[in-house]
Symmetry: C2
Subunit: 108 residues, 2 copies
């Protein structure tokens, strides 16, 4: 997602995770959650990266406001995915809800 | 970095990058910048991940307040690294300064 600073403030959810070893349907569910998130009211974009060696990943999703984040959190399919995440896919995670105040970009 | 929600608000700098192909000293400089950042007043922690295939990476650094971020931005060695980043290492980047309002954690 690319935004000029004139769009601020908006919101970012920083989801930092350490994956367990087994896949157990993880990749399929992660793809489904990205698709489902993108259909939600107030969704602005998503960025994701994972180190294969350390199994540490960071996914940042961007939202128009706190209300959009709350509704996405209450989505039934998303709730099931979070339950499975705790049971099977994540050894550890931190989730941070942030207000994006300033944005700077660079394009070579 | 792990924080309970009682530490909020603090600040996050989300640095999303797409790397060029050549290393050209990138890994050495990235390690040096992590070390130098950790010595700054107000530094709370850093998290980083990169997809090897897409070359997309996300680094999130955490800071006590906006003043700490400003001072780190003005650090001379960091300024040189940013200049080299634009010249050599990044095809594209976005930098977002965010206020962390809420934190949730999970440990298996």
């Amino acid at each position: 997602m690319q935004h000029g600073s004139d769009f601020t403030p908006y919101y970012a959810v920083i989801f930092t995770t350490t994956r367990t070893e087994a896949d157990n349907g993880y990749h399929e569910m992660a793809a489904r959650m990205e698709e489902l998130a993108s259909e939600q009211e107030g969704y602005l974009g998503i960025e994701s990266a994972r180190n294969e060696s350390s199994r540490v990943g960071i996914t940042v999703s961007y939202w128009r406001d706190l209300e959009s984040i709350k509704k996405w959190r209450e989505n039934a399919e998303h709730q099931l995915a979070r339950k499975l995440g705790k049971e099977k896919w994540y050894a550890h995670y931190q989730l941070r809800i942030c207000k994006v105040e300033r944005v700077y970009g660079f394009e070579a």
